[in-house]
Structure formats: structure tokens, C-alpha cells
């Protein structure tokens, strides 16, 4: 690793204006744990405005780890300008926690101080609020979430009249990168409620009993801030099917999650619980029983209008010329939102390469996007192949009928 770093430094000494090389050096330094040096390189790239959105997010993580909050804010600003959303809100929440101005519950000090580390995340900021209008497509899913989560909260008297209270869990499932987390965030936005995102990496702790304690802490934070939307991301990782666990290490975490959802010893009123997973078949059966996550909603890859909308957003802040968004949307069947972002970013890399070799500043054009598109496959294909097996062999009670309908649709048939 250090040989590589030395070589990169030598190359940069020869050509200090080579931003891709500097970025590579920054990433290599970060991977080697030399975060201070990595941040120096990110700072140079930031100064030169030579960072793409996702790279700015990566830089922001490094800056956050080192407590350089000024740089975190600048890097996040750059990421937002580039239209990147993934990871931005999470880092913003941590930044606000450090500044003591944002979330209801500050995150506490660095990861090193685990005793004081708070696992939950609550976001209340108005400027971060996302609504269904920000989520392209998914009309059916939005309608179902409105009926199951939002209306019971907004019009409790109507639902109570028929003996149905607010709360209850909804599990969003589908291929990765298709907007499940965004939808959860938008649900909170629609209700104008805080959004608490609980993720396995914030919960998991190798010390005995610490993961369960972290999970309990996350629920307690959400209860204290109720009414709020509690979003359990990667539910299969927190509530993995106990019968599949080879050892017994993960089982107590599932037991703890069941206790929290049942509100044993606690009050879960006004806690609107949403879960998301790429692997609903790996979620423990007990979690899918009534009162927990008994409603499962399939979040499919974006359809053509949704892809067009996503592409519009991704291209909005970039210099483009002659890009036919409708044609691109047609040619990117089964592409997830994340795939579309990768497509645009790789095309931008092509433009930069062209700019470096010609010395000009060409705009992003169809030829760049087309070239990248020819070498890309939708990342949803693997998920859909696995889902087909579940539909065919393990669809007890019609649990995956929505997926089956999608697979039989003209769009889904392309996955074969």
C-alpha cells in the first residue's frame, strides 16, 4: 500500500494539477487509515472544485471522523450541488449532532467512545425535508403508504372509529437502490414528523449484549421524540431469520427487536414504524406477524417516467447538450436509481477525460451517456432472479404476488 502511495505522490509531484490522480491518492490514503493525509488531499480537491458528488461525500466522512466540521459542511454543500443524496442526510445529521444544533438527540462523541455513542438518528430539519413529490414514480407504493401510515396518523378519529389506531409496521422491499430509504424519509416529510433511521452498522457491536442495548437505545430515542417515523433500514440484517442463524450470536438481537416492536415495558403509541429490506425472505417470520411488519410493499425498479424524472434531476446541475432524456429513460429498463446515478457519473468521467485530452470543456452529450450505457447492466437483475425463485418455490400465502405481477409485466419480462 505504501509503495502505491509513494508512486502516486511522485506522479503528483510531476503534475500537481492532475485531479483524478489526487483523488486516487486521497482514496488510497483513506483506505490505508492515513485519514489526516487523505483529508489534506480532499481539501486541495475541494479548493480546486475538482470533486464529484460521491467523492465529496467520501471526503465528508473522512473530515467528520477527524472532527474537521468546517470541511464537512463544505463537502456536503458540494455533494448537494451535484445532486447527490445518498449519505448526505446521514452525515448532515452527524454534523448537526456534533454542532449541537440539529437532531433531537446528539450523537455524542466519536466512535471510539462507545459508552456514550447513541445509535439512533433523528432528523427534523426543514431544509432536509423530503416529500413524496421528491420521489419519482412509485405511485402505487405511495398510495399504499398513505393509506397504511399517513392517513391513520393525520386522521386518527376516522380510523379509531373503526378500531384502527395509528402505528403498525410496513415493510418496504425490493431491489437495492430503488428508493426504499427515500420513501421512508418522504413518509416522515409528508407527516411533518422527525425521521429516525436505524441501521445495522449503528446497532451492531461485537461486545456481548451491546447490540441489544444499542437497539433499545434507538427505540427509546424515537419514543422520546414521538410522534415520529422510525425507519429500520436493512431489516434483514437486524432481524435475520433465527432458524437460519448458524450460531446463536445474532438471535438475541432479533428477540430484542421483537420486544421493542411489541412495546414491552414501553409505549409505542405515535411511533410510525417502517422497515426496508432487499431480502424479505431472510426476515424472521415472527417479525412479519400482525402488529409488527404484517404489511409488505414491493418497491420495484423505477418505471420509464420515474427514470426520466431521476435523469432530469441527475443532469440538472451539469453542462449538457442534446441529451434526449426520453430516449435514455427508454433504454435503461430495470435500472435502479443508483444505476442511473452511476451511468451519469461514469459519463461525466468520460467528459472529463475528453476535456483533459483535448484541452477544451465539452458538455455532457448523448454520445458519452450512450458509450457508458452500452457497457452497463442493471444491478437489479440479480435481485430479480433471486426473487423469481422465491415466487416460484416459496410464495406461501401469496406473499410475493406483487413481485410475480411485476415479473410478468412487459418491464419485468426483460429480467429473464
Amino acid at each position: 500500500m505504501s509503495d502505491r502511495i509513494d508512486a502516486l505522490r511522485a506522479a503528483l509531484a510531476a503534475d500537481g494539477s492532475n485531479s483524478p490522480l489526487r483523488l486516487l491518492l486521497a482514496e488510497t490514503l483513506a483506505a490505508a487509515g492515513r485519514r489526516g493525509e487523505a483529508l489534506d488531499e480532499y481539501a486541495v480537491l475541494l479548493r480546486d472544485r475538482a470533486l464529484a458528488g460521491r467523492d465529496a461525500v467520501a471526503g465528508a466522512r473522512v473530515a467528520l471522523d477527524l472532527g474537521r466540521l468546517d470541511l464537512v459542511a463544505e463537502l456536503l454543500g458540494l455533494a448537494r450541488e451535484a445532486g447527490v443524496t445518498e449519505g448526505v442526510a446521514e452525515i448532515q445529521a452527524q454534523l448537526d449532532g456534533r454542532l449541537g444544533s440539529g437532531g433531537l438527540v446528539p450523537l455524542g462523541p466519536s466512535d471510539d467512545d462507545e459508552e456514550q455513542r447513541g445509535p439512533g438518528r433523528l432528523e427534523l430539519e426543514a431544509h432536509e425535508r423530503v416529500t413524496f413529490a421528491d420521489v419519482g414514480g412509485l405511485a402505487e407504493v405511495k398510495k399504499a403508504v398513505t393509506r397504511l401510515i399517513i392517513l391513520p396518523y393525520q386522521r386518527p378519529e376516522l380510523y379509531l372509529k373503526y378500531g384502527r389506531g395509528a402505528g403498525g409496521g410496513v415493510l418496504l422491499y425490493g431491489p437495492p437502490g430503488c428508493g426504499k430509504t427515500m420513501l421512508g424519509r418522504a413518509t416522515a416529510g409528508e407527516c411533518e414528523l422527525p425521521f429516525s433511521n436505524v441501521r445495522i452498522e449503528e446497532i451492531l457491536d461485537p461486545w456481548f449484549g451491546a447490540s441489544e442495548r444499542n437497539l433499545h437505545g434507538a427505540f427509546d430515542e424515537a419514543r422520546a421524540a414521538a410522534p415520529c417515523v422510525l425507519f429500520l433500514d436493512e431489516l434483514d440484517a437486524i432481524g435475520f431469520a433465527r432458524r437460519k442463524y448458524v450460531g446463536s450470536a445474532g438471535r438475541p438481537l432479533v428477540d430484542q427487536l421483537l420486544q421493542e416492536l411489541d412495546g414491552i415495558g414501553s409505549d409505542n403509541r405515535d411511533l410510525l414504524v417502517l422497515g426496508a429490506t432487499n431480502a424479505p425472505w431472510d426476515v424472521d417470520e415472527a417479525l412479519k406477524r400482525p402488529g409488527r411488519f404484517d404489511r409488505m410493499l414491493f418497491v420495484p425498479p423505477p418505471d420509464e417516467p420515474a427514470r426520466a424524472r431521476i435523469l432530469e434531476l441527475l443532469l440538472a446541475a451539469r453542462p449538457v447538450e442534446g441529451v434526449d432524456i426520453g430516449k435514455l429513460a427508454r433504454e435503461t429498463r430495470l435500472f435502479s436509481g443508483a444505476d442511473l446515478r452511476a451511468l451519469v457519473e461514469r459519463a461525466v468521467d468520460e467528459v472529463i477525460e475528453e476535456a483533459l485530452s483535448t484541452g477544451g470543456e465539452p458538455p455532457l452529450a448523448m454520445r458519452h451517456l450512450g458509450k457508458v450505457l452500452r457497457g452497463m447492466q442493471p444491478s437489479t437483475l440479480e435481485w430479480l432472479a433471486t426473487a423469481r425463485n422465491h415466487v416460484e418455490f416459496a410464495n406461501e400465502g401469496g406473499r410475493y404476488d406483487d413481485v410475480e405481477r411485476f415479473l410478468r409485466s412487459p418491464e419485468g419480462k426483460r429480467a429473464r
Binding site: M1, A30, A31, A32, G33, R35, D65, D111, D112, E114, I200, E201, L204, D205, P206, W207, D236, A237, F240, R243, K244, Y245, V246, G247, A249, G250, A279, W281, D282, A385, T386, N389, H390, E392, F393, A394, R408, K413, R416
Partner: protein
Amino acid sequence: MDATDRNLALARHYLDIEQPRRALEVLDGREHDVGDPEYWRLRATALIAVDGYREAIDAAARGLDLDPSDVGLLLVSALAHRGVGDLAAAERALLAALRIDPEEPALLSQYALLVAHAGQLEKAHRLLDEAERLDPLASHVVHARGVIAYLSGDDDAAARHADTVLVDDPEEPGAHLLRGSVLSERGSARAARRHFETAARLDPGDAEIARVARASRWATHPLLWPLLPIQRFGPAKVWLAFIALIGLTTAAGIAWLQGVVLLTYLVFVVYSWTVPPLLRRWLEWRAAR
């Protein structure tokens, strides 16, 4: 506990919940200590799970450079080498592991499977005897016995071992797969299909099991019933039986019977060549609608 420990714990958790790709994302994208053999062990294990055997070999080698006596790394190195068909290198890795820990039943089972695939069935049985002596209740030993019995053509023993596993765990997909394979060999296509479909239901994420289960579905279609003798006895024996019948009728001088047998033979040949692929295409087309 620092961030690298947390990242390793997260990667380990993803491997425990059968999400090797997410484990790789964690190992690829975050801060990690490349001087820790555990990092390379987890990385190699995840790569094997996604069929990245060559990269897994490299990852295991990097780990073994750091700690040549790491039994876990030697085992994943062996599995990775077996994945690319390099049985000699796999054997070297397993023998190195067994020199360090000669009484580990899991290593003995893996070694038994390896030598069985190389055709050394007697040695495989001896190794499993030793593994069984060390851990009489280990299901992997029973399962390995079943696989080795199946490979050696001892269907009765393979079925017995599969049943033993299923008594202990009726939801073990591998045992259902083995049981189905034995039944399929015996021409019991319908019973085999039940086991294959059960295996696919229990482990739908396994593309190979799903493929076998789908194949078993079309193999039990009524249009393929005339071909059951081929499924039961194999094509060579069936063709030999026909040739023997033709020979017998010729020797007996029964011309009309000879004609009937010849005609049946020709129809059977044409049927066996044309109907299965056509039926398969039709069923696939119908499933896609």
C-alpha cells in the same frame, strides 16, 4: 474498539446472514487494517460465496503471508482452490491445516470430500471415520458421507445418510437435494421432484438448486413418461436392450415382431431426441407469459 474492528464485525455479521456482497462492500469501502489476517479471511470467505474464486485465492494468500498458521485461512484457501479445480493446491492447503489441527472434524470432512472428488473413495471413508470418531454428532460429517456415497454410486447409503440428516433437521436443503438426486437416479422422478422443490423452497437464493427443481418439473411432465426407462436405467442400457430384442427376434425368425421392435426403436429414438427439448422450450415460454 476502533472503527476497523467495527467494520470487521459488520462484515462478519453480513457473512453470518448470508449476505456476502454486503460484506464485500464493507470490506471494500471502509477503513480497514490490511495487516490483520482476519480481514483477509473474511474477504476470501465472501469472495468464495460470490464465486470469485481467483480473487479469493489471492486474498487468502495475502492473509497467509501475515499468518501462515491460520487454520481458517488455510481452509478458505483450500475451498477457493477447489472452486477453480486446482485440487492439488487445495489438498496442500488442507494438509497444512491438518498438520496444525489434526483433530478438527470440519477439516477432515472437507479433505474427505476433496479426495472423493479425485476418485479416492476409500481414503475419503477413512477420513470420515476419523471425523465421526472426533464428533459423532456433526451433521457435516453425515452429509459428507451421503455425498461420497452418491459419488461412489451407493444410492442406498446416500439415501440413508440424507435421511439421517433430515431426521435431525427436516429443513436442510442439501439433504433434500441429495435425497432427490438418489430418487432421480432410481427413476422416481415424481418423488425426486418433491425433494428438489422442497430444497428450492428452503433455499430459493441458490440458483443451482432452483435450476435442478425447474428441470425436475419438466422431467415429470406426462409427455416424458415414455422416456422413464431412460431416466431409470440410462440411455446406454435402454439402447442395448433394444438391440438385444432385435437380435432375439432375428434369431427366432419372427419377422413381424422384428418389424414392430424396429419401428418402436425408431419412434423411441426420434421421440427422445425431439420431445424433451421442445417440451422444455414450451414450458419455459408458458412460464414467461
